[in-house]
Amino acid sequence: MDKGCDRLLVSRRTVLKAAGTMGAGMMLDKNATNWLTAVRSEAPGEKLIPTFCAMCGPSLGCGIYAYVKDGRFTRIEGMQESPVNGGRLCAKAHAAPQWVYSPQRLKYPLRRVGKKGEGKFERVSWNQALGVIADKLKEQKQKYGAESLAILSPARRSYSEFLYRFLMAHGSPNYGHSGICAMQKAFSFTYTLGAAPVPDIPNTRLLLIWGKQPVYSGSTRGNLKQILDAKDGGTNIICIKPTMEPDVAVSDTWIPIRPGTDAALALAMLNVIIHEKLYDSQFVAQWTYGFEKLEKHIVKYTPNWAEPITGIPADQIIELARTYAKTKPACIDHGNGLEHTSSSNSAVRAIAILMAITGNLDKSGGDIFPGGSGMPVPKSVHLRERYTQEWVDKLVGPEFPKAFQPGAEGTSSAYYRIFDSVLTGKPYPVRTIIAPGTQPSVSTRGVKNVLEALKKLDFYVVVDVMHTAEMNYADVVVPVATMYETDHPFEFSGNWIMARNKVIEPLGNYKSDYEFWIDLGVRMGYRKDFWNGSITECMNDQLKPLNLTMEELRAKPTGIVFQPKPMEYGKYSKIFSRVSTRFSKAPYLPQGKVAIYNTTFEENGYEPLPVWVEPPESATGTPELLKKYPLSFSDFHTSKVYNAGWLRNVPYLREVLPYPTLQIHPEAAKERGVADGDWVSVESPYGQMNIKAQVNPGIRPDTVMALHGWWQGCEALKLPGFSLLEKGANTNSMYSVDYAKAFDPVVTAMSSQTLVQVRKA
């Protein structure tokens, strides 16, 4: 045992350090293979398969070893050799076998035989299913044009580019993107700073965690460890968010902001910093454009103005602004929470300007533009070279204004607007929607409208591993393999590339998401664009820049780790002159400087300076509603054990969070005679939910919040599922879908704020 204990105390850091010192292109395989062999011999009867976790994604997930016994996937261990997770894994990762073998798995393709919504299907073969889809798409392309097809995007996946490729080959620009998934933030940062910066946490003295949840989202991927190491090292940590989540619990200061008012706080901080001349005047003079216009503009956004909006005392705003401006270096770790509001673009732009004028941009310990990777980038399958202006003009409901498309990800229509087009026929009705790994009735706003649109829609295709919330409206259901049942694709990010390995044989009559698009492409007659139907050729083609085949990559069990490019700070002239993805190839920043005043926005009819925009309903925006709906409401987008609208059917995870809950302050609960664990009715001007009260002293007394994405039941625990509409637990049913108020005017971000009343159910 003593021999064991010494090995036990070898920290993960040592292993990673060893990996990190290898040269570009050097393999970890030598050590890894020995390690693998050693463990294999210690555990007879059990096979270990190195691969990626797939409980979020598929994307470059965390490295895992999947254990297989008698052909059954049994348990999991973190891959220490992975530079992404270094052996760490979250709760979801460990529940993978229960997810793979869950009774809700789809086993074979289905074709609807009953009425829409009724749930009557007949079993068909993979080829029959593809034939039905291909015939419909060909017919519609001829009758209505290829743009009558929209494909909904889930969160970024490694198959996202396959959706684009199919759309490119078919001729439709309508990639439906949610409007609240990092791309909004990326857009606003890029059109202000030239790129989206990341916080240099290890070298900072002050860290602001703003609208971000580092524990529930990617806890194993390094960011959380950096935060905790910074905490141990004495860095001052300030968290800005409405509830006291676990990252707030370990921080030094909590700024309990009212949901959706980050723009107001950032504007008031700018007011203090500019008024008190706490900015870096040299950086401002040399590298920013329009500061003097901001000086005048910002006068009205005082801390006293922001106090009733944000719910943060003016004195605390002043102190926060001074602390941020005076502590050098300081960085802001920004999250997607900033996007979920009609002032999304302004919030992110104001925060970008804070980073810039305080002189914290691209400096050690500030917010930086990382140096990149020494890895040759695998070939994209997107077919970007085919974009034309006509293509952009055909977008059914642009996610970003047409003048800014194609964007970093490609062309995109706002997810909700695709459904709206079905109902209104404006500008034209989408006729077929394909939903691969995404559930519109729990992922976007206006649930009633979405369900109505699904009834009206000509043709709806669900491509998924599991029963989905609105699967009963589908004309064809295509089951696909989980990523534990397929040996592709390779995944890469940063400095690491690895082949995915198959853990078990598929449990049913299906192939992978990737093979679905390839097979459908071939059936449509787009054979040449789809590698003549060969997934192997597809993978090998993408790997050409690395001079590798998939099998050669697979021979290295833990993949290849490359060295990062050395970090250089102060790359202002390079970053500020980056060329945009638009057809004009005009730079993101026309003046080659930080666009405090944004002339590109001005030319296109948008606000050139960040401005405050009230959420559709709020205490300060619609005070007349407070009598009927006295509490601010918003939802959490991430959770420790679930992803979006998924995983509630997994028993080990559902045991941790068995019920949808309303986080409510003890005072607000007491006023309503509500006790912890009581079922409560939550009612907004648009919808209603019945969920359980969780009395939480760590939330603003004027605010209640709930986790989004509840609909699934859990058979093994005899826990119920929930209605998508009234008496359910669907936070999306609570919000406005008024285009004039509920969406950011530039980036179409969906507001996650409203007012509610809470009563005992």
């Binding site: 045992m1 003593d2 021999k3 064991g4 204990c5 090995r7 036990l8 105390l9 993960r12 463990v39 210690e42 555990a43 049994t74 348990r75 999991i76 261990e77 973190g78 052996g87 760490r88 894994l89 979250c90 709760a91 979801k92 990762a93 460990h94 529940a95 076998p97 229960q98 524990v215 529930y216 806890s219 194993t220 959380l224 460890k225 905790l228 905490k231 141990d232 006291m244 676990p246 990252d247 707030v248 619990a249 370990v250 909590w254 309990p256 420790k640 054990v641 028993p651 080990y652 995870l653 045991e655 941790v656 302050h665 002293p697 760590g698 939330i699 603003r700 007394p701 093994a716 625990l717």
Partner: protein, 194 residues
């Protein structure tokens, strides 16, 4: 207990690095294929103060593998024993009669009962330990809040890193805690939550 004791193994918990993600809890269930409803490890939190001056502390608790385990002493069937080589407390379910005397004796609400009615609890992932691996909970911890090993080594390493205190109490639990959670907080948690 007659044999001379080897080095006592135990856990180290840094409450300033625990972020209540429950990865340890689920890693334990999955690795040990636990029945639903059974928890060998649990994450419990403690709130104090009034908005906005609130504190929230957390602990991840499992069997403490006490130096003087009350469960071993009380078990009439002698189903629970303390390993001489590493002090790990283990249960022989073939001997357990399911009388639940250990539940009454354990100050930490550790014993769990599966459908068979016999007691089960954390065994320090002995099978992993024998392969030179950390228990599943420790290996997975995203915040690196949990560590384990021989207590003397843990105490020595904590003296150069962060001060840690070994829990007191008549059973002498093999758990070191560090950070903002103190022993008094743990007693409060144990008094109110199971």
């Amino acid at each position: 207990m007659e044999k001379p004791m080897g080095r006592q193994y135990g856990f180290y918990f840094d409450s300033d690095r625990c972020v209540q993600c429950h990865a340890c809890e689920v890693a334990c269930k999955s690795w040990n294929t636990l029945e639903l409803g059974i928890r060998w490890r649990r994450v419990v939190d403690l709130w104090a103060g009034q908005f906005p001056k609130i504190t929230n502390k957390t602990i991840s608790l499992s069997c403490m593998h006490c130096a003087k385990p009350a469960c071993v002493e009380i078990c009439p069937a002698k189903a629970i024993s303390k390993r001489s080589e590493d002090g790990i407390v283990v249960v022989d379910s073939s001997k357990c009669a399911g009388c639940r005397s250990c539940t009454a004796a354990c100050p930490f609400h550790v014993p769990q009962y599966a459908r068979t009615g016999t007691m089960q609890k954390c065994n320090f992932c002995l099978e992993r330990l024998q392969q030179g691996k950390q228990p599943s909970c420790v290996a997975t911890c995203p915040g690196e809040a949990l560590r384990c090993g021989p207590l003397d080594v843990l105490i020595e390493s904590s003296s150069t890193r962060k001060p840690a205190e070994r829990l007191s109490g008549p059973t002498i639990p093999s758990l070191l805690i560090s950070g903002r959670l103190k022993e008094a907080d743990l007693l409060e948690i144990l008094a109110s939550k199971i």
